[in-house]
Symmetry: C2
Subunit: 199 residues, 2 copies
């Protein structure tokens, strides 16, 4: 009854309610930032009974996640770029968030919540991890420091994203992408090449 109930409900009332709440979250986040939005705000804006809300979502964060997982698909799409290019997600990501910059700022910026960022890091980490595994020299075993590398890369990327969304950095998506890649790629590539184990 709670949470990650992905399958579409058969009952029109359920669909209506869930969509109304999700939409309300977006609107309110744009107006006040994620942190400042309360459940009471949500049910007022969505025009939904309090008990109804809690019948569908565990809390505010649950609404967020139900809205946020779309990004996962968007990220998994990107690595279709030419192989040999690490971190293909980077540029599309910056570009996407540039178009949606109001929402991005409200979610990731100073008034955004750590929950958003934590979730983003989770999602991104799986993507980066897969990409690094795919980029390993053939017939080699993943180095034990793989997860450390993933953490580094994700941390660097998300940090850039946050500052950028916050307006502390003025740069084009291309410039952001270039900076990210410049810092991170050389180290990762040599580490991957060097860390080749036995087949």
């Amino acid at each position: 009854m709670f949470g990650n109930q992905r399958r579409e409900s058969t009952d029109r009332r359920v669909r209506r309610t869930r969509k109304a709440v999700q939409q309300a979250l977006i609107e309110l986040v744009l107006e006040k930032g994620y942190e400042a939005v309360t459940v009471t705000d949500l049910i007022n804006r969505a025009d939904v009974g309090r008990s109804t809300f809690y019948a569908h979502f565990a809390d505010k964060q649950d609404v967020l996640f139900s809205n946020l997982d779309e990004l996962h698909g968007l990220l998994r799409l990107a690595p279709a770029a030419r192989p040999g290019t690490l971190f293909a997600f980077s540029l599309p990501m910056f570009e996407h968030l540039h178009e949606q910059r109001r929402l991005a700022r409200a979610l990731l910026g100073r008034r955004g919540g750590s929950a958003v960022i934590a979730r983003g890091e989770q999602i991104l980490a799986t993507v980066v991890r897969d990409e690094l595994l795919a980029a390993l020299p053939p017939r080699s075993t993943p180095p034990p420091s793989l997860d450390l590398m993933v953490t580094c890369v994700v941390g660097a990327f998300m940090a850039l994203l946050r500052k950028w969304a916050d307006g502390e950095i003025n740069a084009t998506p291309a410039e952001m992408d270039a900076a990210f890649r410049a810092v991170v790629t050389p180290g990762v590539e040599t580490a991957l090449a060097a860390g080749a184990g036995r087949p």
Copy 2:
């Protein structure tokens, strides 16, 4: 009356009160994690009147900051290492947090607060920035992407720190330091060397 009142108060009552509250914060953070600590908890543990608390601190975060700035000094100490070695703060930092790991976990881990992390990033950013400036080739102007680099480096480091403090990563301080350096150093060094402007 509020906040960053660094100079020692002349009144013993003031000193007593402030110290009691700060100590209470440490104890409670160790027990519940920063996020879960409330002002009510603080004044109970410190055995201080509610009005007294608000006469000294604006809020919970204010207490934290008054306790946290000691780290700044600790970081500025490290770069006394041999020049030419970038990110000298890294290993000492990991080692220090390893000794204080209970507190580190309570502050930086999942139950720690974004305020702690944000403050840590701020402090670390100034240190990294100074270090990069000092490591520039002589008679060159800093590249415009310097702040992007700083953000990347700080982001990567703090991400490692968080996961480590959280227990998601099992590694010695030396291993953490090595991983951090392996990913970040090559990119930064070439960027610094290449970005040399005219004198």
